[in-house]
């Protein structure tokens, strides 16, 4: 190699240094430029919003001027104009709407929470197709307006949301529904500078046709909405009288018709019936196209909040809808964070990112029971509130197996479960013992029924009576069934979501072992578990049912459901007496009569013990001090922030 002269070396190094300095300056300048650009962007966005508002007000003023009615507020005018078809009938929507936030509540702030407390991405936001409770309780709750909603104080009555008046005939077969006028659809979330979306640029109002469209979609056999179709199949007809009035006729008088009708919501036909270029879908395949509609990964509605952003795996964002017709919620924006790991959730709550957190059993023990007294959890900085969820946990026995056919055996199995201690130790008190299928804090639940207590000697006696005796001295009970000597051995399917369930199942296993019963734990993956329950290929399993307010036992307990492969009556429960009650409940509207029937039903399932009923679960919700006016709803969803507000 030739030796370079010193001078070239020096020149080269100087040039190198100069290059580096030059690059550095360039980067800094570009950075500055970018800063300014971002500022401009933010400013232009806020100007755009203000312009929009101004435009709206101008439009309103224009309308008033045109109609020539000064002095009268437009709302009052509408009310006086509207005519009811059956003015003699009492408005069905008599419930109290939720109390609005105090007037001096600051109207601002971003509410941050984990999406559905589990932090898993939803499948999509097409409300007709998606059947997950996460979408309906988190997103749809804020985005759509239902015809009527359950009153927070008394969930048995409804208040008007989209509907302003509903008239029901005495036989509960015909509902005449008047929906509010002037409810605007949210603007779809699209790139408006793209000429492709010019066709959808207009402003749209919610009409009765949109409500009927939802019904039509659910009943369209091409649409993947068969989970809701069961509910609406008893509707005889949905007729639109004019833009804001529709009549729904039911084929028969059923109690469920009330909640089903109230649960109807509008779906924008002007969006979902068209492809991205604004051409209507061909009629023959419209349902199939709807299933994969181009707007399905975004959500649209007419409610208090509108959908802003879904950053998959990171964030779902809602922003307050300034055109909302109901009481304006103070919180301006809701951020749902997709955080799966429970520790991440906790740390993000502690760091102040999240405003609300749900303490699972282990964290509850760490932070509240064993935590130091000066921790923010215990010194009053964070507000801690247990909320009883409308969920119960149970063990289901396969009633078609000979060993579980005998009522006495099932009672003996319940006697062997120390439920009080499980709640105290495994759950750290985060549960309420139940003896039947109803929510503990509802009128349907019969408090006078004494739970089967934990008593192994009683189990032993009942098992003796049922013929289960250890004849060969191998420590395991046996019995001759159909001429074959059978040992009392069975498996229990468990799946992974909740740690505490595994721990109480293993304690139960020990207790059964003392009685001479062998229970094998079979941890199973969820999708395999579902398949095995469809085929009824299990001995027993642990499960959890979420309850709705009606507490209709039909799907889980009616014997007609026991033969269907995809039904919720997985254990094959058949009881004539219970069937009569269930059928009668579906036609009874009188509250006291209903309670009587429900309690009679409760008594049967307590006596029969088709499930080993465990507990209603409690949720420990901790909230940041900046969150005010926090209260939890009795019915689901328990967390509803419409009248909460944020203080800095």
């Amino acid at each position: 190699m030739k030796q370079e002269s010193t001078s070239t070396m020096i020149i080269k190094s100087i040039m190198g240094i100069a290059m580096v300095i030059f690059l550095g300056i360039l980067i800094l300048q570009i950075n500055n430029l970018e800063k300014n650009l971002i500022l401009v962007k933010v400013e232009s966005e806020s100007t755009k919003l203000q312009l929009n508002k101004l435009n709206n007000t101008l439009n309103k003023i224009n309308k008033v001027i045109k109609s020539g009615s000064f002095g009268v507020s437009s709302n009052q005018q509408v009310l006086s104009e509207r005519k009811w078809l059956h003015p003699e009938v009492k408005n069905f929507l008599m419930g109290d709407p939720p109390k609005p936030a105090p007037e001096d509540a600051p109207s601002k702030g971003v509410f941050d929470k984990v999406y559905s407390f589990q932090g898993v991405d939803p499948k999509g936001f097409n409300f007709v197709i998606e059947n997950g409770a996460d979408v309906s309780e988190e997103i749809q709750e804020y985005l759509t307006m239902y015809l009527g909603r359950r009153s927070p104080n008394d969930p048995a009555v409804f208040y008007g949301d989209l509907a302003e008046r509903i008239e029901i005939t005495d036989d509960y077969k015909e509902y005449t529904i008047y929906i509010k006028e002037g409810v605007k659809w949210h603007r779809p979330l699209l790139d408006w500078s793209n000429p492709r979306y010019q066709w959808i640029k207009d402003e749209y109002f919610v009409t009765a046709h949109d409500v009927k469209y939802t019904y039509d979609l659910i009943m369209n056999s091409q649409v993947q909405a068969s989970h809701s179709r069961n509910y609406y199949k008893d509707i005889e007809s949905v007729k639109v009288l004019d833009n804001h009035t529709l009549v729904i006729r039911w084929k028969k008088k059923t109690y469920q018709s009330v909640s089903t009708t109230m649960g109807l919501y509008p779906t924008p036909k002007w969006l979902y019936a068209y492809n991205e270029d604004g051409e209507p879908f061909p009629e023959e395949t419209a349902g199939l196209k709807f299933n994969e509609h181009w707007y399905n990964s975004k959500a649209i509605g007419c409610g208090a909040y509108q959908f802003v952003k879904w950053d998959k795996g990171v964030l779902i964002q809602l922003r307050r809808n300034d055109d909302y017709i109901g009481a304006m919620p103070p919180i301006k924006q809701i951020n749902y964070h997709l955080i799966r790991d429970k520790n991440q959730q906790l740390l993000n709550f502690q760091s102040g990112l999240l405003d609300i957190h749900n303490l699972p059993v282990a964290q509850y023990r760490d932070k509240i029971l064993d935590g130091p007294a000066n921790s923010p959890y215990k010194n009053g900085t964070y507000k801690v509130e247990p909320v009883t969820r409308m969920v119960y946990r149970y063990i289901g026995w396969n009633l078609e197996l000979p060993m579980f056919k005998d009522k006495k055996v099932r009672q003996a199995l319940t006697h062997a479960m120390d439920r009080k201690n499980v709640i105290k130790k495994q759950l750290n008190g985060l549960g309420t013992l139940i003896t039947g299928n109803f929510y503990r804090h509802s009128t349907a639940y019969d408090e006078s029924i004494e739970p089967w207590e934990f008593d192994l000697s009683k189990s032993k006696k009942l098992l003796d009576e049922a013929g289960w005796i250890d004849t060969d001295g191998d420590g395991i009970l046996d019995k001759i069934i159909n001429g074959v000597k059978t040992d009392f051995k069975f498996g229990i399917l468990t799946y992974g979501y909740r740690e505490e369930i595994k721990s109480w199942v293993s304690i139960y296993k020990e207790n059964l072992y003392k009685l001479g019963i062998q229970m094998e734990m079979q941890p199973t993956e969820w999708s395999v578990m579902l398949k095995r329950m469809e085929d009824r290929e299990f001995d027993s399993y642990t499960g959890g049912w979420g309850l709705d307010f009606d507490g209709d036992p039909y799907q889980i307990w009616h014997s007609s459901q026991a033969d269907l492969s995809k039904s919720s009556n997985r254990i094959g429960f058949r009881n004539k007496e219970a069937d009569v009650i269930i059928d009668k409940l579906r036609e009874t509207f009188e509250p006291e009569e209903r309670v009587k029937l429900q309690r009679a039903f409760h008594k049967i399932v307590h006596e029969e013990q088709p499930y080993l009923f465990m507990y209603n679960e409690k949720l420990v919700v901790v909230t940041h001090p900046r969150l005010k006016n926090v209260s939890f709803q009795k019915a689901r969803p328990h967390v509803q922030t419409m009248n909460w507000y944020l203080e800095e």
Partner: protein, 479 residues
């Protein structure tokens, strides 16, 4: 060399085909339902999926077709009678699983079962059997409409669809109900036979048509046909195209794993060299023990500990962000700020990903170098009077580190597969978590997509490491 590379690339095509077939076959054998949800915390009794919805779903993804070969033009009447017997079994002669399988099978056969129905209806006089056929008939006779994801249909196809729809509407009326009088039943029977006669020649397949149906009317061929167009299909869970979804997620994982690989090599190779140059000293032993202790610490534990001590949510040192890939308000940051934001988010995950691989890489480097350092040419170099540094770095390292290159080749597929544990603990929306979820929910298309991409990368990785060999060591030559 060029020839060799071309040959290798051409060889990839049959290999990839074989991989596709095998992965596809294994996936179809997995128990559980495709496209289900992630496990839930509690279920709602009233929101169960009905049968009809499942059928639309199956047709959408061709799950009603056989996997590799379709011999449905040879369905046997006796088998069909047996299946019907199982489906409508009331005496509990068959288990519920058998009954469900029979129901699904009949449903899946769709139109293909109609010739058998026709023959049985014409010949048999078993009324019970006829009732069974008529009860299944309208569901089986319904024909599938032409429908492709996100595509517009041609006028011709729309015309066919309209005709099909009209026929389907007619067929839907042929339904049996138990309340029928025997005259009504006979009328229905007659109508159905009449209809079947009118469409009889649809099933007179020629040999060529049979061959076509056998190989191309199957799940695999539909999938493969799309694959040839670089179309990985749509996700069975959220009905969105798979490829963009993978690309979106893979970025996060690539950044993480490339970062950790670079970091690991930067740290481990010098450690390995040091250990090789000073073998069996106290420090060498201490390093070995220390690295293996790190190696045996599980990442989920270390990750959680790091978070509980060094993240913003901790009660101790609030140095690093709690998790995630970037801050929420990063949209309004300049590029430099974003760079800083992402880097600071990446520190803890990178530490977790890196410390595990330090042990293996540094050991590889150490042994590789030790082998070389005792060889004759190193002795010669030393004898020549070269300094120790020159001997080690110029002569030994170049040869001694060849084994490490092998590692680099095998690392490439890991780059896209991501790490489920790290992604969950640090809440990074990467491909690891996505593929894990896809397996759990039996999202066949998603799993296939991820597997195929990583298969391609594995093959490429092997090729690259082979080429690197010959660059580093001129003695290795490929013919």
């Amino acid at each position: 060399m060029q020839q060799y590379i071309i040959k290798r690339i051409l060889m990839m095509i049959p290999t990839l085909f074989a991989i596709t077939v095998i992965v596809f076959g294994i996936l179809q054998m997995a128990p559980g339902k495709p496209g289900g949800g992630l496990e839930t915390d509690s279920e709602s009794a009233n929101k169960q999926e009905g049968m009809a919805g499942h059928l639309i779903f199956k047709r959408q993804f061709h799950l009603d077709k056989p996997v590799f070969f379709n011999f449905r033009f040879w369905l046997n009447d006796d088998d069909i009678i047996q299946l019907l017997d199982e489906k409508y079994d009331k005496t509990k002669k068959y288990t519920r699983a058998q009954k469900n399988v029979a129901t699904e099978t009949i449903e899946d056969y769709g139109n293909d079962i109609l010739p058998n129905f026709h023959r049985i209806l014409e010949r048999s006089d078993d009324k019970e059997l006829k009732i069974r056929i008529l009860s299944s008939f309208s569901a089986n006779a319904a024909r599938t409409l032409i429908h492709r994801f996100g595509e517009k249909l041609s006028e011709e196809e729309r015309f066919i669809n309209r005709e099909t729809e009209r026929e389907n509407r007619r067929v839907a009326k042929f339904s049996y109900s138990p309340t029928m009088s025997s005259a009504e039943f006979d009328k229905l029977n007659f109508q159905v036979i009449d209809y079947l006669r009118s469409i009889e020649d649809r099933w007179n397949y020629s040999l060529l048509q049979k061959m076509y149906k056998c190989f191309f009317d199957t799940r695999f061929s539909y999938y493969f046909y799309n694959l040839l167009h670089f179309d990985f299909g749509i996700s069975m869970v959220d009905k969105q195209p798979v490829l963009p979804k993978i690309m979106e997620k893979v970025g996060y994982s690539i950044l993480l794993s490339v970062g950790s690989i670079i970091l690991a090599y930067l740290l481990a190779v010098p450690i390995g060299i040091y250990s090789a140059v000073n073998p069996k000293t106290l420090l060498d032993k201490a390093i070995t023990v220390g690295l293996f202790m790190l190696y045996s610490l599980p990442t989920f534990f270390v990750g959680t500990v790091l978070l509980f001590y060094f993240s913003e949510g901790s009660e101790y040192y609030k140095w690093f962000p709690t998790g995630g890939f970037k801050s929420i308000d990063s949209d309004n940051m300049t590029s430099l700020q974003q760079l800083k934001d992402i880097s600071i988010h990446m520190i803890l995950p990178l530490v977790c990903l890196t410390y595990v691989s330090l042990a293996s890489i540094s050991r590889y480097a150490r042994t590789g170098l030790l082998d070389v350092i005792h060889s004759d040419y190193i002795k010669t170099a030393r004898a020549k009077g070269l300094g120790e540094w020159v001997v080690v770095f110029k002569h030994a390292v170049r040869n001694g580190l060849i084994p490490i290159l092998t590692l680099l080749g095998s690392v490439l597929p890991a780059v896209v597969s991501g790490s489920v544990v790290i992604e969950v603990i640090f809440n990074i929306p990467g491909i690891g978590l996505e593929s894990f979820n896809a397996v759990i929910t039996r999202d066949y298309n998603m799993v296939m997509g991820i597997q195929l991409i990583s298969a391609v990368l594995t093959l490429l990785g092997l090729l690259v490491s082979d080429i690197l060999y010959s660059i580093v060591d001129p003695r290795i030559q490929y013919e």
